[in-house]
């Protein structure tokens, strides 16, 4: 494989392969940013991969008082799924169990999409007849009485069909500390990119996978070509100095958002350099046959 070098870091001439997904976004507000984030973190828990969780979700960006509908601090949460039905089901149950329940929370549409998804329209029945409907400014809200006052929730949010899931970067480093350092720097940079989320723990995944496996029924199994302990016994992609690999997976509202996020992540890891961070940066793909979206690293370099 051909390689480029930036700031001493090797860049593989390869690409990340990503898929079209359905996505939505909501804005969660609370009396303080701490509690808005708490509701958001709770509702995006166990949402790392559609394979096992039904959806992929994370906080997109924090919003200060001037940027939220009700003038309280908040954050924008994005949720991705493979079908509209899955997305609606996940949205409804996560909203009902995690946001409705969180102290002082309110919830608003975070996306003007091609079709509506129910928010308050499905939760209003919790009000047991005491819910209040309010329509103004071309928007519809539900006010549901709860024990600390009211849960205010917009009736619907938008759905986009042009979302992309599966953008990724692989950081190959001499040891775990350096791999983590590179990945953390990239996560911090990508967090600032609007419309892109990283659904894995802290944005980082250590168990990258390949399609299928030797056991029946396994849709995915360990990416042995990038597992350093198997370097000698499998057809490895790792050179002798690499002892740890970490991956960042990116879902974006649009293909441009994924590209912008990968560009920001690449720049952060390259700026860190090979002595403190990654020796080499790569990306995961399936040969280009499965996913419609290809992000070539050489096009995204700083």
């Amino acid at each position: 494989m051909q390689q480029l070098t930036r700031n001493g870091v090797l860049i593989d001439d390869t690409f990340a392969e990503a898929f079209g997904m359905r996505a939505t976004a909501i804005i969660i507000t609370a009396p303080t940013l701490k509690w808005a984030r708490q509701a958001a973190i709770t509702m995006t828990g166990y949402a790392t991969s559609v394979i096992g969780c039904g959806c992929e979700a994370a906080i997109d960006i924090d919003l200060d008082e001037s940027k939220t509908p009700d003038g309280r601090p908040g954050c924008r949460v994005m949720i991705f799924a493979m079908s509209t039905d899955d997305l609606q089901k996940q949205l409804k149950s996560r909203l009902g169990q995690c946001v409705l329940t969180s102290p002082g929370s309110a919830c608003f549409a975070g996306l003007e999409g091609s079709a509506p998804l129910d928010l308050g329209n499905s939760l209003r029945y919790f009000g047991d007849g005491w819910q209040i409907s309010k329509k103004f400014g071309g928007r519809h809200y539900w006010r549901v009485p709860v024990m600390d006052g009211e849960f205010l929730c917009e009736a619907t949010t938008g759905l986009t069909k042009s979302a992309v899931g599966g953008g990724n970067l692989l950081f190959l480093a001499a040891d775990n500390t350096k791999a983590l350092h590179a990945a953390e720097q990239a996560v911090a940079a990508i967090n600032k990119v609007p419309g892109a989320i990283m659904p894995f723990p802290g944005g980082i995944v250590r168990s990258g996978s390949k399609v299928g496996g030797k056991y029946k029924g396994m849709m995915a199994s360990t990416n042995d070509a990038f597992a350093p302990t198997l370097r000698g016994v499998v057809n490895s992609s790792l050179s002798p100095e690499v002892n740890a690999v970490l991956e960042i997976v990116i879902d974006g509202e649009t293909s441009d958002a994924v590209a912008a996020a990968m560009r920001a992540g690449l720049k952060a890891a390259i700026d860190l350099g090979p002595k403190k961070g990654a020796l080499r940066i790569s990306a995961g793909n399936y040969g280009g046959k499965l996913g419609k979206f290809h992000y070539h690293l050489k096009d995204l370099l700083p």
């Binding site: 007849g129 409907s133 205010l152």
Partner: protein, 271 residues
Amino acid sequence: MKALTFSLIAEPDQRLDLTPLTPAALTGLTVSQIEKLRLGAGRDGLLVGDVFRLSGKDANNVVIEGGSARFDRIGAGMASGHIRVNGNIGSQAGRKMSGGAVMIEGNTGDHAGSGMSGGRVEIRGNAGNNVGGPVAGELTGMEGGVLIVRGKAGDYVGDRLRRGIIAVLKGCGDYAGYRMIAGTIVVTGRVGAMPGYLMKRGSLLFDRRPEQLSPTFVPCGEPEIAFSGLFDRYLVDENITDRPLLGPRPGRYGGDNAVSGKGEILYRRGR
């Protein structure tokens, strides 16, 4: 293109129904056709040309220069376009309108915005009784849209209001929100007796605690709610009020318990 302007020649000697002077009804008509539109009733009913001098061509923007308390039903039934009136007018301005905007730089008579379902009516002066309310025999009043009275309004503001927003900025008479079905009424300034009398659902939003309330309204505390911040911002963004109305912890009364009791009065505390 200059707005189609109707300049008042002299105060008419009869009540006139200005329903024909909406943008949609005037579009495509020539000046002579417009001058022959009948506004008065009966054998001696006046025509447009008897009352107004016409100028301008843009029928989507209608301006009536000079008002009269005998001008009724301005903008009635309109669905689009703009009407501006410089002067005081009579009753039922914006009656049953579904879209567009009516701006009245003066006072109006009773039943302004009666039964409207969309669009925006703004009255710079005072309004009479039954703002947005139904006329005799109708079951519902205003059903949507925004109705702003920058001055005072009379009694029965928002009678049988079902949806939409009515804002009165310099106080109103008695029985605001009378028999309200749902919707929102904002009043800044003094509110008369018995606001919300027989309201089923909906919200009355005041900038002070109402003084004379029906005993069938009960205090519901003063919890912190996100709705007040959201609605305060809407009012300021839409230039309906120039400052937040309720604040983060408004006081609340529930009522009217003489009927279903699902309505509310929210008010800014401390005044």
